[in-house]
């Protein structure tokens, strides 16, 4: 019978408020196998951990049960403490009596009984535990960054600066992401491309960064430190090596189409580059619009191209890369205004969303920075800005706040007022959220200096009446109905994850939440890591946020990658599958189940008496196995077992809970 120590934590009032901690540790004192049982105010504190270490050393304990908060929180803390005291860390198990007992039950008596039963079950589990030793696995020191926006670029630059190779994959033909489309940025109103282009240029020429634009990640396998990723390089129909960027083809191309970079505000040629400062500054042919692809004639670009680099028959190719870590920076999109029926469902040309307004206001945009109405190009005398269009809205099950719209709407209003001093800018808002550095002052300046009219209330409907856009709303401060005729309506639509994020999540096996944003490992303590080891998150892929936060988060993700690459090999979790070769008959029914292909047949020699028998058994590649345990269920005779969550341990836990 193992000498087990049980430590029940008060966690201040968190646990002790609904679980009688004293009674629990008292009851555990005379449970078979328990040598020492005690409770303590804050076990995770340094004195708490000292208590555990001292008790292990004094009584030479062989197993520890800590009844406290969730293992996701402090399992590693307590295991490290035990290891410091000379006990194998995998002899320590955590009972979750806070998140899953004290916080979720109100009746103190029931909660205490449940807590005691859970602790007894964990004691039984520890009795069946074994000493486990982590494995060392080789590591590929190369990072894959998915998404070439400001967050992807920041990660790429930081990691490249640290001397590790980076592969930056961007689905658009050029990097820069949404930031490249912005006119100015709040709160300093400095021009977005002025602060962005140095970054994109540096990324373009950095020796450690391999840029793969117009590409997507289609498959990923392996595990942290040893991912193999397949990247689909979509065809650009122009040989970018030979091309010198003279853009003659863009000038001469006869076909004009809608530019999705301009969000429908401007036109582009069938062969063109998205915007003048694009990196890489190379044109791409839009297959759906190019006359040659539709009818087989034209070929104007081939005629004018001095270096003859147009290749119509270019095919997509799949590139395979060995990667050590992945950073997801897939960015965001705005909720399409077609989804908002109360604001015209995209029928009216003069009802535009935030990004379209950015393009109109941008110097490199279709109107060279002059704010004009997309319908007739006139300068609008009155603009209505509608906040929280689609955000904070339970009916559309998108209750979250998109965080950046308050600020960029104030910026839009200021830009408009700087151009049209006598124009009226009205902003319908619910609550102005300006929490960043210099944000509140920025909004105050918009109100006082630029006389932007802020009306507190939601807009009921926007409709067109004899050529004029009518905005029906209410001003809750004066509780009056408000009817404004506006030349232009700008919707601050909700920030949603980019539409390929969900698929990307399933390819990388990283979970996404109900709205499609990636799940971080822990909302407060591990925001830049995903649940999958070796996959990190940066920027709006994880949740809506503004540029300063994105850059700081991206730098954090880069730091995580750099610390991971700072060691020559990785330490793997020893809670992996293990084969009992005496029992295994080699039927290999476990092999098709393993998602990581970690199981292979092997011939072993067994000595029985003086005869040596050759037998086929299954073996586990400890590096590949991630410890999911699905194979141990397929094994009928129980030869395949999972250390850390073995059949014996789960059965003992089960029995103890059913007593």
């Amino acid at each position: 019978m193992k000498k087990i120590g049980v430590f029940v934590c008060w966690c201040g009032l968190n646990i002790s408020s609904t679980v009688d901690v004293g009674k629990a540790s008292e009851e555990l004192k005379n449970y078979p196998g328990v040598f020492y049982a005690d409770d303590y105010k804050y076990l995770c504190s340094d004195p708490g951990q000292e208590l555990i270490k001292k008790t292990i050393i004094d009584n030479k304990l062989e197993g520890i049960v800590v009844a406290a908060c969730s293992p996701n929180m402090h399992e590693s803390t307590f295991r490290a403490a035990a290891e410091a005291a000379g006990l194998n860390p995998y002899r320590v198990e955590i009972t979750n009596i806070r998140e899953q007992t004290s916080w979720v039950h109100s009746n103190k008596e029931d909660a205490t009984i449940k807590a005691i039963q859970l602790i007894k079950a964990t004691v039984e589990k520890v009795k069946k535990s074994e000493d486990l030793f982590p494995q060392q696995i080789p590591l590929t020191k190369k990072v894959l960054v998915i998404g070439g926006g400001i967050s992807g670029m920041t990660v790429a630059l930081e990691v490249a600066e640290a001397g590790y190779p980076v592969i930056l994959v961007e689905k658009e033909p050029q990097i820069g992401g949404n930031m490249a489309k912005l006119s100015e940025t709040f709160p300093t109103l400095d021009c977005a491309s002025c602060i962005l282009t140095p970054k994109t240029a540096e990324v373009g020429r950095h020796s450690n960064i391999t840029l793969m634009t117009n590409s997507e990640v289609v498959e990923s396998s392996g595990y942290f430190g040893n991912f193999t990723v397949k990247i689909k390089r979509k065809p650009t129909f122009v040989d970018w090596e030979k091309c010198i960027g003279c853009m003659l083809c863009q000038e001469k191309c006869p076909k004009k189409t809608n530019s999705d970079f301009e969000h429908g505000m401007g036109k582009r040629k069938a062969i063109s580059v998205a915007f003048p400062q694009a990196i890489p500054y190379r044109p791409i042919i839009n297959e759906k619009e190019c006359i040659y692809f539709k009818t087989g004639k034209c070929k104007m670009c081939v005629k004018v191209c001095p270096v003859d680099c147009i290749e119509f028959e270019q095919l997509e190719n799949i590139v395979e890369e060995n990667i050590g870590a992945i950073v997801v920076a897939s960015g965001y999109e705005l909720l399409p205004k077609e989804k908002l029926s109360e604001y015209g469902q995209g029928k009216y040309a003069d009802v535009i969303d935030g990004m379209q307004f950015e393009r109109i206001a941008s110097a490199s945009g279709p109107t060279e920075g002059v704010i004009r109405r997309p319908s007739d190009g006139k300068i609008p005398q009155s603009i209505v800005f509608i906040q929280c269009a689609g955000s904070r809205d339970n009916q559309k099950d998108r209750p979250y706040c998109s965080k950046i719209c308050c600020m960029y709407t104030a910026k839009h209003a200021m830009l408009y007022k700087h151009q049209v001093h006598d124009g009226t800018a009205t902003v319908f808002y619910m609550d102005i959220r300006a929490g960043g550095k210099g944000y509140e002052e920025f909004v105050q300046r918009a109100i006082e200096d630029d006389h932007v009219l802020y009306l507190r209330g939601r807009v009921a409907r926007v409709y067109e009446e004899d050529g004029k856009l009518v905005v029906l709303g209410v001003d809750t401060l004066s509780s009056e109905q408000v009817r404004i005729e506006a030349d232009l309506v700008v919707l601050a639509t909700a920030v949603i994850p980019s539409e390929k994020a969900k698929v990307l999540g399933q390819t990388l096996k990283v979970g996404t939440d109900a709205y499609g944003f990636f799940n971080e490992a822990h909302p407060k303590l591990r925001p830049v890591e995903s649940m999958t080891k070796g996959v990190f998150l940066a920027g709006c892929a994880q949740a809506p946020r503004d540029i300063p936060e994105t850059v700081s988060q991206a730098t954090g993700a880069a730091a995580k990658v750099i610390t991971m690459f700072s060691k020559n090999h990785l330490v793997s979790d020893p809670q992996v599958a293990k084969v009992n070769e005496k029992i295994c008959v080699g039927c290999l029914q476990c092999e098709p189940i393993c998602p990581y292909k970690a199981i292979e047949p092997e011939t072993i020699e067994v000595r029985i008496g003086h005869t040596v028998e050759k037998r086929q058994v299954a073996t586990i590649n400890k590096g590949l196995c991630q410890g999911c345990g699905a194979c141990s269920v397929a094994c009928r005779s129980g030869a395949m077992n999972l250390s850390g969550f073995s059949n014996e341990q789960i059965l003992e836990e089960l029995k103890a809970l059913c007593l």
Binding site: C587, L588, Q589, Q616, S637, G638, A639, E648
Partner: protein
């Protein structure tokens, strides 16, 4: 024309003479009347007493596990191979062992015989009213001679239940085929008994099965006769962790039959051997049949009885049903 038995003897003589096998497994007359028991012949004269007829016979596939070396020993030369008399259902057992890497196809010689149903002596006795002294079988019917009168019964009446749902009338591929292939009449699946039980109320079902399981004396004959149960050491013999306690309480019996049914789920080829060997006649076919029916229905597996490379529980489809 030569009867099957003579053809078999001639083939076996040939195999032994040019040293192609070390052992031939077939059937011989048992000690009690009409019983056929497995026979092992290491040379031709031992094979002389072997016979083939249409009386109920035990399964031979499981003996291959002990008679052949481990798969790891690789393909043995010709003279070390083992020949085995194989009907369609035996073939499914052999396929099961091959797919489970217990034996190698090259190490065995399959001597195939077609079969369209074996005779159940108990049924003949019941129809006759007493124990038949003599039973002769010809093309369509069976003549059973009792003490006083004898009866002519059509074969269909006395054929074994398991043969009524036979999924494979003769081995799909065999090295030697003793007789030409009969019409491979495809028998439709009859899950009527299982549906009958499904229609019962939960209480009735529990009483029905606990009554069956209480009779079980835990002799493990069903496990030892089943080719799908080919583990080196059975989980019921392992004491750490003790999945099954030695005491024979009702809950332990439920546990035993639940585990065994799940261990052959998707692997059982409905050969009916477990029902045949059970000393207290527990309808195990209805247990394994239920899982087979569900697998065929839920994962649209065409015929769950025929061993596939990967078991139904060893794979999944994205559009598996969601409602439960």
């Amino acid at each position: 024309m030569m009867t099957m038995t003579e053809k078999m003897r001639e083939q076996v003589k040939e195999l032994f003479v040019n040293n192609e096998i070390k052992l031939f497994i077939g059937f011989e007359k048992g000690f009690t009347k009409f019983s056929r028991i497995p026979a092992f012949a290491e040379n031709y004269d031992e094979a002389k007493k072997m016979i083939i007829d249409e009386f109920e016979t035990p399964f031979l596939a499981k003996y291959l596990i002990r008679e052949l070396e481990e798969v790891a020993a690789g393909i043995v030369e010709k003279s070390e191979r083992v020949a085995i008399l194989t009907r369609g259902c035996d073939y499914l057992g052999i396929r099961r062992l091959i797919v489970d890497n217990i034996i190698l196809r090259e190490n065995i010689v399959i001597v195939g015989i077609p079969c369209d149903g074996l005779i159940d002596v108990k049924k003949a006795n019941k129809l006759l009213g007493e124990e038949a002294r003599e039973i002769t079988i010809d093309e369509e019917n069976v003549i059973a001679k009792g003490k006083t009168e004898n009866k002519i019964i059509s074969k269909a009446e006395v054929v074994l239940d398991r043969c009524r749902q036979c999924i494979m009338c003769e081995p799909k591929e065999s090295d030697i085929m003793l007789a030409e292939k009969t019409a491979n009449v495809k028998k439709n699946k009859d899950y009527s008994k299982i549906e009958e039980i499904e229609k019962m109320s939960a209480k009735e079902r529990y009483e029905f099965w606990s009554r069956q399981f209480e009779r079980c004396i835990r002799c493990f004959a069903c496990r030892d006769a089943c080719t799908a149960c080919n583990c080196r050491k059975c989980i019921f013999d392992i004491t750490e962790p003790e999945m099954l306690e030695k005491t024979v309480a009702t809950s332990e019996q439920f546990m035993f039959h639940f585990i065994r049914a799940f261990h052959v789920a998707g692997r059982c080829s409905a050969c009916g051997e477990c029902e045949r060997v059970c000393p207290v006649d527990i309808p195990l076919g209805l247990l394994n049949g239920k899982l087979r029916k569900d697998i065929e229905f839920l994962f649209n597996v065409e015929e769950a009885g025929i061993p596939s490379e990967i078991e139904p529980l060893g794979e999944f489809k994205l559009d598996d049903p969601d409602e439960w």
